[in-house]
Amino acid sequence: MQDKNDFTRNKRFSFKQIAAKLNFSSLTSALLAILLGLIFGFFVMLFAMPANALAGFRYIAFGGFSRLGDVFYFATPILMTGLSVGFAFKMGLFNIGASGQYTMGMFFALYAGFMWDLPNGIHWIAAVLAGMVGGMLWGFIPGFFKALLNVNEVITSIMFNYIGMYLVDMWVRGSSTMYNSTITRTNYLPQSAQIPSLGITGSNVNYGIVLAILIGIILHIVLQKTTFGYELKATGYNKHAAEYAGMKGKTNIIITMMIAGALSGLGGAFMILAPSGIPGSSMTYEPVNIIAANGFNGIAVALLGNSNPIGIIFSALFISHLQRGGTLTNLVGYKPEIIDVVIAIIIYFSAFAMIMNAAIGEFIKKRIKKTDSDIIEDTTEELNVTDASNNNSKEAE
């Protein structure tokens, strides 16, 4: 059938393939992407205010380390919405409705916080769970329409962003228990409804981030280890093959959107139930008919994290880190608007570079290995050719 030495050749080649693949492992490409983003960000800062660019850049790049508590605190909601978007994306669904689910989750948490009289230690848990249910409900609707009527989830969920937001604002304003018209925002939540703080001075960081990271890890396990994750990813990669294999596509769509909604809803709950460092105070919500930005930030987080739950944990922390550092650049005279631009550029270039990592990897490989030889091709090509060389079959492509 086959030459004897074919086998050994095969072995040797596969080592090379593995090496080639590892060469641009996702970690390295992520680091490179971030580095590239930072460099671009630095140029913008240089352009905006040359004299303080270095000092400002130092804050952006490293300032977050001096405010780790806040980095984690502000990462919590975007981590949840990022997980929400990323998880749905694994199934090939674009959950642009994270914002509405987030708002709905926040409202349910608020409702539980104000209306339910529960003992300390249970109240906040109940409120968090209520938030989860609220988001789940708001994720279910687009999922249901997608599965049963084949309505594109993007359209439904965008609409439900608005529907959710206006409903919540109406409900909040209509309740004198929840709404305080003199400050045009919600009243202060009772202490029992606030998530216990992690006790880091000068920061509101709380058990929300611990739960969020845990949830990220659980999602990772679900995706990698369970039959549900297997089906979900299969559907995302190739829904025809999933159908052929007898997977319940419609049910899975609904379940996925419900989970995605629940994740966003938890994000909203974690945000509103965060403990206040000021006695008697709490987080507040201002019903001003604006769609929650954290929902959309989740898209950037998911993109940067490559839709991988573990990646999303890091990308949420990274973005929060940049933002915290960015705020510090106020100290050297950068205006908040410039900082927003710089951060957006860093995130954009990082995400862009992540997507382009194959191309960039190749580019850098070429530059570095120029002397080695000129046998550079992209990895898949290489795999194809090598593979093809040692089998007796005919390629289809």
């Binding site: 280890k225 299969a234 052929y244 593979d387 390629e395």
Partner: protein, 515 residues
């Protein structure tokens, strides 16, 4: 010394870990059809890509009419009069035929496209070479055969005189193939030179003047076709003798496994039923082949049996159980295995690892799953078993991403999965499409073994050789109906062709007594 229009001399092309072309010399005469034969991975496509400017060779040179030329990109190739019909067409799906043909070389005055001129030129070419097209049809609406004619017209429109055809017949029906071969002949007679990449020996014997054979990146030799035989060519290509006959014992039909009664299936493209009131039985221990020209309802029939499509009337029984309305999963459990027509669309999750693909039908069974968690060590073990048993080759074994595997091995993986799964009926749709002779031999052997193991096999094929050689019974489908129930031992290929084209039909014995 003869005049060559193109000479590729001592071409070497190295990819990491593999020498794709090792010192290969190919000379193309003016006005000849020169076949380039080789198994998958032999280096045919690489060599042609070098000629077309897609790759730069690491060694060797290319000459045109004796002069050394450098082809850095497809535009250079085009300037030298080299055109190529790719295996996968490079057409803009939403453009019309005419727009595609003139794409990139639009005749224009002051920035406005002069379509009228172009149309006249295209229609003239189309008439001259008998390449029937509708210039205003949109690509995504026309048949694959017509798309190919568009690709050919693209080359003619650019007045190329060296035409490369990369596996042009892989996607065509028998009729279209013979038309294409005739067209190629006409081109050659007109003085155009043709490079014809293929692995189908019949076509080479039918049309080529000379044939260059490659194996594993090396040149085996160039022969005159009239002085050689199919057997010799295949020996050159594979490096050993290949049997073109399928060895099999007499069939021993047993119980009825699948019975289809008055089945109708709606069409997705038109309002009429694609399958009309069809009834037949398949027994264990026999291979029943659905023959027919593509588009006569085979896909819909198989869809209804496997559950991918809904029947509009009639019933389907598997081992006596009515499965007409059963889910795909249920049918799979009841014993249907399915080698799908399109292995990339249905058969595999290309971004999954090989091992994950091997349990695509079974991941939920207790063997591989406990409490919702997949038992990955069991999966790995099972994958290794199948890899050994079915000789599936890949770069990294069970953890190879399916996408990076060759077509033949992807097909082997699907076959392994479907045959190893507990089943009574194997539905195999074009299981050898796009495979080379070695792999085809392998697939046929597997089908026969499955039959001999007492399973029923339903084979759908458009290849007459395969229909005649592999099947125990032939059902011919024409316009959604079964027009013949034939015994391959008693029917000739010519006769079969008449059934397939609708020129002949039997009054089949009625089996409408739905059970």
């Amino acid at each position: 010394m003869e005049k060559y229009i193109i000479e590729m001399i001592n071409i070497t092309k190295v990819f990491p870990g593999i020498v794709a072309n090792d010192n290969i010399t190919l000379r193309l005469k003016k006005g000849e059809i020169h076949a380039l034969l080789g198994e998958n991975g032999a280096g045919k496509s690489t060599l042609m890509s070098v000629l077309f400017g897609l790759y730069q060779p690491d060694g060797g040179e290319i000459r045109k009419n004796g002069e050394v030329v450098h082809i850095n990109n497809p535009n250079d190739a085009n300037d030298l009069g080299i055109g190529m019909v790719h295996q996968h067409f490079k057409l803009v799906e939403i453009f019309t035929v005419l727009d595609n043909i003139i794409l990139g070389v639009e005749p224009s005055k002051m920035g406005f496209i002069q379509k009228k001129e172009a149309r006249e030129k295209v229609l003239k070419l189309s008439e001259k070479y008998g390449l029937k097209i509708d210039p205003d049809a949109v690509i995504e609406d026309i048949t694959v055969g017509m798309q190919q004619r568009v690709e050919i017209l693209k080359m003619l429109y650019r007045e190329n005189e060296i035409l490369i055809f990369d596996e042009p017949t892989a996607v065509l029906t028998p009729q279209e193939i013979s038309e294409l071969l005739q067209t190629m002949r006409n081109f050659a007679n007109e003085g155009k030179s043709i490079l014809f990449i293929t692995h189908k020996l019949n076509e080479i014997m039918a049309v080529a003047d000379r044939c260059t054979v490659l194996r594993k990146g090396k040149l085996v030799g160039t022969v005159d076709v009239k002085d050689t035989t199919k057997e010799e060519l295949s020996r050159m290509m594979v490096g050993r003798d290949v049997s073109f006959r399928v060895e099999k014992k007499e069939k021993k039909p047993g119980e009825v496994v699948l019975s289809v009664r008055n089945l109708s299936v709606p069409s997705k493209t038109h309002k009429k039923d694609a399958v009309k009131n069809v009834s037949f039985d398949i027994r264990s221990g026999e291979i029943v082949c659905i023959a027919g020209i593509d588009g006569n309802g085979q896909t819909e029939l198989v869809g209804a049996i496997t559950g991918l499509e809904k029947a509009s009337g009639g019933r389907i029984f598997l081992n006596g159980k009515d499965i007409t309305k059963a889910t795909i999963r249920k049918r799979s459990i009841e014993g249907i295995s399915h080698i799908p027509e399109d292995r990339h669309k249905h058969g595999l999750v290309l971004d999954y690892k090989l091992e994950e693909n091997l349990v695509l039908q079974r991941y939920w069974q207790p063997e591989f799953q406990s409490k919702g968690f997949i038992k990955f060590d069991a999966v790995r073990k099972y994958a290794n078993k199948l890899i050994d048993k079915f000789d599936i080759r890949s770069g990294q074994g069970p953890i190879t991403i399916a996408r990076s595997m060759s077509g033949g091995n992807q097909q082997k993986a699907i076959i392994a999965r479907e045959i190893d799964k507990k089943h009574d009926l194997l539905v195999a749709v074009q299981p050898t499409r796009g495979l080379d002779v070695g792999a085809i031999e392998y697939v046929h052997k597997q089908l026969v073994e499955t039959r001999d193991a007492g399973k029923a096999v339903l084979l759908v094929s458009f290849e007459l050789d395969e229909v005649m050689n592999v099947s125990d019974r032939i059902l011919v489908m024409y316009e959604g109906e079964i027009v013949g129930d034939l015994d391959p031992k008693k029917v000739t290929v010519q006769e079969l062709g008449l059934y397939m084209s609708g020129a002949k039909r039997d009054q089949l014995k009625e089996i409408n007594d739905a059970g």
